[in-house]
């Protein structure tokens, strides 16, 4: 194959002397959102992974494409990674409850939080319901005390729910 004639029509249209693109700057790939999927009605939400997006709307669209294109689900939920507060992992040597002081608290009015528990048998965070608190990020142990780690996402600040099919 002669080097000038490519089988890729895009290459033949490229400028001859293309310079290397500039090094990427921070946030060139935007920010991340955590994706939770409810596989069937009544089942807990399961953490599936992340998407990169500029806002919640775009995150929702990408989550839909990346995680539900081939597998159906009853509901899909996205939340900015920065909005998730997660306790440290204990590796089963102590209860998460004893680490309450390590969970940062936030000032403010009453908010509802979704709660996820990570266990060794179920390594993806599993939704254990929601709790309403007066501004604190939550009380580890009250809902999912048997878990090795818990994380909380604020339902008011950017969780989008999708009730489908």
């Amino acid at each position: 194959m002669a080097s000038h004639a490519s089988l890729d029509p895009r290459v033949n249209r490229l400028p001859a002397n293309m310079e290397n693109p500039d090094e990427k700057i921070a946030l060139d790939q935007l920010t991340t959102f955590e994706v939770f999927v409810q596989p069937k009605p009544g089942k807990p939400f399961q953490h599936e992974g992340i998407v990169h997006a500029s806002d919640i709307e775009m995150a929702y669209l990408f989550a839909k494409e990346s995680f539900t294109r081939r597998f159906t689900c009853s509901s899909l939920c996205v939340v900015p990674t920065g909005q998730v507060t997660s306790s440290p992992m204990t590796e089963w040597t102590e209860s998460v409850f004893d680490r309450l002081d390590q969970v940062p608290s936030t000032e403010g009015s009453s908010k509802t939080y979704e709660m996820f528990v990570l266990t060794a048998t179920c390594p993806r965070g599993n939704d254990r319901g929601s709790i309403t608190t007066g501004g604190h990020a939550g009380y580890p142990g009250t809902v999912g005390g048997e878990g090795s780690s818990e994380c909380l996402g604020n339902t008011e600040s950017g969780v989008s729910f999708y009730s489908g099919k």
């Binding site: 089988l7 921070a26 991340t32 992340i50 990674t81 390594p123």
Partner: protein, 328 residues
């Protein structure tokens, strides 16, 4: 799609020695029990480094691998093939997204990974440095290159790093569709005219040597992988995966009446091992280091996409955005 960990570099076993022995022991015991390691867990620096390298290369392979097939979308024979190929290529790009995310949980940002790809600092599967001349080449890729990728990915899906395994489970489910699609394309050519059969035989002749390279260098010349096997980063040796591929697919190729361009290719029924002509590892090294028929072109397409999309990414970025390493 992804071909074996061809450029794994276990340069220093010393790195392992510097780790905290108590933590290292607990880590290895967890892996031996079949537990998955999650992003927040303690892990040796070498484990992290090798996983980033491996998952990142896998992600790049999905993106670059979509290029030789992607050029065939406009020329696919018929509307059904066009639709199917378009969906397949979109799947591959989606796999790239899932894998970049899995690698990101280990602490390397997506910006750095893409920079390393377009500036030639990072590798991708060597097979995509070869051109797809005809539709039959595209059929070979969809059937047999994807088949090779499945052998590799099913093995890796049993590995120890949670986010990578979960991404692979999802990917394997989609790849099995691609395999059926590719097999159907090849059966169609095999059952067609003399000209169609000749077209596929020629594609097979062209692609067989890179296909044999696909699983990486022979065990006797490849880097020391014992520790990676123990940590379940690598689940089978290159030769084991090559043998498994031959075992599964050579009979299927022969069944369709095609000839594989290797006169000594034969299964030893006593050992279950395939005999084959030793692939040309010098050519493999030359191509993976940049001197292949399509290396420049593949990166050029990725670079132009990078330049053309820049204004969109700049417009989307807002001042109050911040970055946090994703959870899992």
């Amino acid at each position: 799609m992804y071909g074996g960990s061809s450029s794994l570099d276990v340069s220093s076993a010393d790195q392992q020695i510097q780790e905290d022995p108590i933590k290292l022991r607990a880590f290895e015991e967890r892996i031996a029990r079949g537990e998955k390691i999650e992003p927040v867990d303690w892990m040796p620096a070498l484990y992290r480094k090798q996983l980033i390298r491996m998952i990142e290369q896998h992600a790049h392979s999905e993106i670059i691998g979509a290029l030789p097939e992607g050029t065939w979308i406009t020329r696919a024979p018929g509307f059904r093939r066009k639709l199917a190929l378009m969906a397949k290529v979109q799947d591959e790009v989606g796999h790239g997204q899932l894998l970049y995310s899995a690698a990101e949980t280990l602490g390397k940002t997506r910006e750095q990974m893409i920079d390393d790809l377009i500036n030639g600092r990072s590798k991708y599967s060597n097979i995509f440095n070869y051109p797809a001349f005809t539709w039959a080449d595209a059929c070979f890729i969809s059937w047999l290159v994807d088949a090779g990728a499945i052998v590799n990915q099913l093995a890796n899906a049993k590995g120890s790093y949670g986010p990578y395994c979960r991404a692979l489970d999802r990917i394997c489910a989609e790849e099995s569709f691609h395999l059926k699609y590719g097999h159907h394309c090849v059966i169609y050519l095999a059952a067609g005219t003399k000209e169609q059969r000749r077209m596929f035989q020629e594609a097979l002749n062209r692609w067989w040597p890179p296909m044999m390279h696909f699983f990486g260098p022979a065990d006797k010349i490849s880097a020391h992988t014992e520790v990676l096997m123990k940590w379940k980063v690598k689940m089978a040796t290159n030769d084991e995966m090559r043998n498994q591929f031959l075992d599964m697919y050579v009979p299927k190729v022969w069944e369709l009446g095609f000839t594989i361009p290797d006169p000594v290719l034969k299964k030893d029924t006593a050992t279950g091992k395939w005999h084959y002509t030793e692939p040309d590892w010098e050519e493999f090294k030359r191509v993976i280091n940049g001197d292949g028929p399509c290396n420049k072109e593949r990166l050029a397409v990725r670079k132009i996409a990078e330049q053309r999309g820049k204004w969109v990414r700049d417009a989307l970025r807002s001042r109050d955005m911040s970055y946090v390493t994703p959870l899992a």
